[in-house]
Amino acid sequence: MAMTILAPNSPLSVVEALRGDKTKRPVSDFSSASGLRAQLEDGIYSIMGKASPVSPLVVRSSSLRQSHPTSDIQQASLSLFRGILVTQVLRLLSIGIEVSDPFSEALSAWRCEKSGTEIIRLFNQLDKDQVARLEADVNAHSSTLKRSLGTVNAAWSPRSCVRSSQRFAGGHVLLFDVIDLMVGSTVSELASVALFDVTTSPLNAGAERTMRYHALLQTLKTSVVPLRTSIFSSATSELWTSDVDYELLSRSVDEVLAVLSDMWKYV
C-alpha cells in the first residue's frame, strides 16, 4: 500500500524559494515593457482591426486557465469560496498574524472586506452541510499553506492582493489581474520583485499560463520586469517557480492574444 509521509518541517519554505540567492539577481530590466506593449497592440490590431466592440473584451488570469466545464454549480461555488478564504489566510500570514482558526478568521476578514455584497449573500445561502464541508476544506488547505509558506520578513515589502489593470486598443481591451502576494521593490537596481499566487486546485498547464500572465501584467504596470513568478497549490503542496525573462513574457503575450482571438469569434 502506498503511503505519503509529510515531514514536520519543509526543507525549504516557499518564501525562501521566492527570494532565492540574493547574490545571483540580475540587473532590473526597464526596457522590455515597451516592446511587449507594442507586441500586444500589434497583435490586438491583427485580431480586431479597426472594429470597436460595444463592450470591451476583458482578460483575467482565470481566462488563461484550462476551462473545465462543471455540471455541479454548488461544487463550483464551494471551490470559489474555498479559494477566497484561503487567500484571506495568506493575507493574514503575510503580515505575521497568527492564524489559529483559519476558517473562522478568514471568514471574519472576508465579511469585513465585502460586507453587503452579492457574493456574501451567496455565501449566506449555503446550508449547514456545505458550510461544514467548506470549513474542513479551508482548514486543511490553510494548514498546508501555513506549513509551507515560512516567515515573510517585513523588510521584503510584502503586499497582498495587488491589483493591475491595463487598457489596450483605445480601451477596447482590458487586462485585469490580482496577485495574491508580492515581495521586493520595483525601484531597486537589481531585480527583486517576486510574485506569488496560491491556488486550491492541483497545478496544471493553466497554472503555468497564470504565472506568466502575472509577470506580464506586473511588467506592463510598472515597466520593470519582476525577478520571478510562482504558484503554489495548497491541494498538493507543490510550488512552481520560474525566473522571468523576455521569452517568458513574450510567450504570455501570445497566450493573451490567443484568448482574445477566441473571445473575438463570439463578439
Binding site: L92, I95, E105
Partner: protein, 268 residues
C-alpha cells in the same frame, strides 16, 4: 487650453513631470472666492453640501452613506504609518502600521473616540478583520513608499487633505493630496489613487487642484498637480493655470447643480 498630460507611471516620468513643472503658478484672489461663493449660493440646498473630485468624476451621482471599510481605512493608516517611518528610520512598514492601529485602539479604550470615527470602527472589529485592515494598509503604504523612493526632489507627506468651506453657501469642498514636492520655489502635489483612471479623471484632478488652491491662505495654486494610479501604471497631471483652476471650479458648481436636480426629482 487644457494642460492635461498622460504618462506611464515610471520613476523617470514622475521625476520629469516634477522637474518640468511651470515656474509660475496662478493665484486665487478674494474676488475669485466671492464669485465662487455666489455661484454656490445660487444652487439651493436643504442640507450642508460636501463635494469632492470623486463626485465630479461620478457626475454628481447619489452615493451610499459613508461607512468605514478596510479599503477606505488603508489610506489614513498607511499614510500615518509613513509619517512614523519618516520620524524613525528603524521601523518597518508593517510595524509602523501596527503601531498606528494600536494607537487608534488605545484611543478607543481611553474613551477618546466618537461614534463613526476610524478608531471607533476599528475597536469593534475582530482580530482577523484587524489583520485584514493591517494588510490593506501595508499594501497602500508600500506602494506609496515606492513612489517616494523614486522622487529626486525634496518631498514631504501632506499634513492633511485640503478642506475649504465656501462662505455663506453651506458647501464644503474636500481635495485629496498625498505628497507635496518642493521644487525650487514651486510646489508640486501628488495624489495617489487605486484603480485606473477613467475619462473624467482629468476633471477630477483639476477639482483637487482648485480645492488645494482655495485651501491655501494665499490662494496660490500648485504649479503642477500629478495624479498617480499605481494599479494601472499611469499618471496624469494638470498645471496650476487660471484656465485649469476655473475649469475645476466650474465642474464643482456643475456637480452641485446635478445633485440639486437629483434631490428635486427625488422629492417630486
Amino acid at each position: 487650453m487644457s494642460t492635461l498630460l498622460h504618462r506611464r507611471n515610471t520613476v523617470r516620468n514622475v521625476n520629469e513631470l516634477v522637474a518640468s513643472a511651470p515656474t509660475t503658478s496662478s493665484q486665487l484672489t478674494n474676488d475669485h472666492r466671492a464669485s465662487l461663493s455666489a455661484r454656490f449660493r445660487a444652487v439651493n440646498t436643504s442640507t450642508h453640501r460636501r463635494l469632492d473630485a470623486w463626485m465630479v468624476e461620478q457626475a454628481g451621482k447619489p452615493y451610499d452613506p459613508f461607512h468605514w471599510t478596510p479599503q477606505i481605512a488603508r489610506r489614513v493608516l498607511g499614510t500615518n504609518a509613513l509619517r512614523r517611518i519618516n520620524a524613525r528610520n528603524d521601523l518597518s512598514i508593517s510595524q509602523a502600521v501596527r503601531d498606528e492601529l494600536a494607537d487608534h485602539l488605545l484611543r478607543s479604550t481611553a474613551g477618546y473616540t466618537q461614534s463613526g470615527s476610524l478608531s471607533y470602527w476599528l475597536s469593534g472589529l475582530s482580530h482577523a478583520s484587524l489583520g485584514l485592515v493591517c494588510a490593506e494598509a501595508v499594501t497602500w503604504s508600500t506602494t506609496t513608499y515606492e513612489v517616494l523612493q523614486g522622487l529626486e526632489h525634496p518631498w514631504q507627506l501632506a499634513q492633511s487633505d485640503a478642506y475649504y468651506d465656501v462662505s455663506a453657501s453651506r458647501t464644503s469642498l474636500r481635495g485629496r493630496r498625498d505628497i507635496v514636492i518642493k521644487n525650487d520655489d514651486q510646489r508640486v502635489v501628488l495624489r495617489l489613487r487605486a484603480g485606473s483612471p477613467g475619462k473624467s479623471s482629468g476633471p477630477g484632478l483639476r477639482c483637487d487642484l482648485t480645492i488645494d488652491a482655495l485651501a491655501s491662505p494665499t490662494g496660490t495654486a500648485a504649479s503642477r498637480f500629478i495624479g498617480v494610479w499605481p494599479d494601472a501604471g499611469v499618471c496624469l497631471s494638470v498645471d496650476g493655470t487660471m484656465a485649469d483652476l476655473r475649469a475645476g471650479a466650474r465642474d464643482l458648481v456643475r456637480t452641485a447643480v446635478v445633485q440639486q436636480r437629483g434631490q428635486m426629482l427625488k422629492a417630486a
